[in-house]
């Protein structure tokens, strides 16, 4: 076992709403792109070219820089058989790796259970955002969901500091498991103490942190900063998760402006995050996965694009062999799947690669099957 600091850490950024793959990794060299996107098209001259066929959205400058440095793997044509165009259901499938039946356990919840089977560290997995994504759900796995790191904790509504300290003191005595009252109450007591302990530790992270990097004030920027703070604090956290605000990538209308803003913020947050870790020499054991639940329709609707399939994912970090993985799905009408890009890579191949080659876990039981692995790590 290497030192805690150098254990591999996986960070996941979920782009909720269904990011438009075509306007993210833009096939500007394909005339079918312009044909299908009469109204919602990134102008060819603005694309940040990767080769003479595809390029990144012009608002992804910081990510292009990381790409050029060889630290970004772009996984093209990601999906799964019989794609589902419901946000809820498709996200569930990504979270649980159960495309055919409804599952309740998340792939990362299972991974955390493997990493820390006895839940010795209440912070092995941490989520930033209210409510636990199903990806992290697993019975017996405590995962803190942090809405706001600066004010996370129990009884945060008590504004006066002294009063809150007193109240927490009473709380810890009431919840002391030593009282031994039996049954569900004991379970509640233990859970309350876990929560208090986790909050105590986490609340120290911002105090311990200093950095020259200034993140954006948007939600993703702030949560990526929180992730950096938590990682840098050295709590032994191995899986960190956050989500772009509620379905923000769901660009049915006004897509060009909305998508530009989203990627400008997201790309900046990712670039800042990398710079921040690098500044603290804490970048080499972190890998970031950026994913979305589906791609969008190939043809625009005059103002935006509607739910489709066949998306893109990014894996970013020092351990990553940058480049393009998989094929860019054809835009030819006869190659589309019900009007969408036809996926050629199963998302579980990405998971398998990250679990096996990065976290060193046996992926098969965590993602319900064997899937071919990529070489990006």
């Amino acid at each position: 076992m290497t030192s805690i600091k150098k254990d591999p850490v996986l960070v996941v950024l979920q782009l909720s709403g269904g990011n438009d793959a075509l306007n993210t990794v833009v096939p500007y060299g394909d005339p079918l792109y312009a044909d299908n996107r009469p109204s919602v098209r990134v102008p060819e001259e603005q694309v940040l070219p990767i080769n003479d066929y595809i390029g990144l959205n012009p608002n992804m400058g910081p990510m292009k820089k990381l790409y050029d440095a060889g630290k970004v793997a772009i996984i093209q044509g990601v999906g799964y058989p019989n794609p589902n165009r419901s946000h809820f259901r498709s996200m569930d499938i990504w979270h649980t790796c159960e495309p055919d039946k409804v599952g309740t356990e998340g792939w990362l919840g299972r991974a955390i259970k493997e990493i820390d089977p006895n839940a010795e560290n209440v912070l092995t997995g941490v989520n930033f955002g209210r409510g636990l994504p199903r990806a992290l759900a697993m019975p017996g796995v405590p995962v803190a969901s942090v809405g706001n790191l600066a004010s996370y904790g129990v009884l945060t509504g008590i504004e006066d500091d002294d009063q809150r300290v007193e109240a927490l003191d009473v709380f810890s005595r009431i919840y002391s498991p030593a009282l031994g009252r039996g049954g569900v109450v004991d379970y509640l007591s233990q859970t309350g103490m876990d929560a208090l302990k986790g909050a105590d530790i986490l609340s120290a992270a911002p105090e311990m942190y200093s950095s020259s990097v200034e993140y954006g004030s948007d939600t993703v920027g702030q949560y990526m900063r929180n992730i950096a703070q938590t990682h840098l604090a050295g709590f032994g956290t191995r899986v960190l998760y956050t989500t772009a605000p509620y379905n923000s990538f769901d660009t049915h209308a006004g897509e060009l402006a909305a998508h530009a803003k989203l990627w400008s913020e997201t790309s900046q947050a990712i670039g800042d995050f990398y710079d921040d870790l690098k500044e603290h020499d804490a970048n080499d054991n972190v890998t970031l996965l950026v994913f979305t639940e589906f791609g969008r329709r190939v043809h625009d609707n005059g103002s935006g694009t509607d739910h489709g399939s066949g998306g893109m994912a990014f894996v970013i970090g020092d351990a990553v062999k940058g480049g393009l993985y998989g094929e860019y799905p054809s835009l030819a009408a006869d190659k589309l799947l019900e009007g969408d890009l036809h996926f050629n890579n199963d998302f579980r191949s990405i998971y398998a690669t990250l679990l096996e080659k990065w976290l060193g876990l046996d992926a098969k039981p965590l993602i319900n099957g064997s899937f071919e692995q990529f070489d990006f790590i």
Partner: protein
Amino acid sequence: MARNDVALMAHLMRRAGFGAAYGELERRAAAGYEATVEDLLHPERHPTLETDILERRFTDWKEMNALEVNQAYWTYRMINTQRPLEEKIALFWHGIFCTGNSKCEHGRQIQLQIDLFREKGLGSFRDLLLGLSADPAMVFYLDNCMSHRDAINENWGRELLELFSMGVGMDGEANYSEDDVKECARAFTGWTITNAIPRYPYGRYEAGFVYNQADHDDADKTFLGETGRWNGEDVIDLIVKQPATARFVSRHLYNFFVADEPQVPAWQNTPPRDLAAIQALEAEYYRSGYDIGAMLRLLFNADFFKDARFAKVKSPAEAVIGTMRVVRDFTTPKPGLHNLAMNIRYMGQDLMNPPTVEGWHTGGEWIDSGTLVERINFAADQVGNLELPGVRDIVERVSTASDANDSSVSAVSASEVVDRCLDLLGGYELAEITREQLVEHVSRGGELTPGAADFSQRVGQTLQLIVSTQEYQFA
């Protein structure tokens, strides 16, 4: 009013509804316990909410398109209904007859299913099952629309038996065979729905139930040992008379209204916590002709119910709504309802979008370190808000606590404050050691004098600590 009568009424209202503010508890206790049970069992005696004004303020409630809009709507209903048991029985059936938005993606269609539970949930279990079998959201959710005469889909047939009526087994024995599942599915072939109008460009349209005789398998079937050309309705008639169904419904009622039982899948091999109570409910099931209201009348008036105070962990809906009914916020339409409703989701109960058809795991399984923090912080924020009318009312009542009426004693004692707060929140009882901690904490702040500058705030803090206790997480 005897203190215990009010506390018992608080218990009844928490279980048969979502709790009530102290004034209502006193009024109901004065009217009498049995009379209140009758009142609850007759929601039609009280007016519905005024839909016109609600749809005027919440313009999106007419369309009721998205899951979150439905959740806000149901949250508002639960807080403000004058028919608490109507909403509670709907929540009860929703937890059993699960239908999820993640598959249906049509908020309004699921809300119509909840309406079915409101309308038929206190009546005949047979009628309810029949209504459920023809409910478009359910027909779609469990794929009965994909079940055809020549190619059955067993999903509905199986869950009807396993999750909705009989359960896998009881007393260690299986209740039905795999063949029964197939025969059940065959009987329901042809029970389908209309092809939908696409949601673009103007939004969704209600689906309709259709019985397609041409796609119905009309041949003989042998179901639960009886042979005939059974159709869906016949199958339901056969199901409802099974002892397994009487047991299953009784255990569900007991688990939801009386005391936490093990999770449902364990019922085949785990005997009921209180067999005598279950048997009394089973007898009433048959006596009344499968009438859920009659079973609840027996249940609420039984000693096994009255003695089961705080024997259940609150569900997130109960935790949120129960607190809101005491602090009395959102009694009229206003912005912020969505964020309020989301707390139920954050605590682990995404209403109308259960994790699977098996619904939510209940009891202690509601609680983990994340959801416990959500519960405590939510309730503490509410009861600590001295602007809210229900909190002001509690402060006022504490300030006129009995020993303060004696003009020679101007202060209220710390233990009096704690006890009054416990009563006013709904007859809560703390472990003695916890109560002592609270009393000590309150007394450390010095004398509590009604009218003094810090009086309201210190009562508010006492309330905050009470709702942070383990005990407050129980109903």
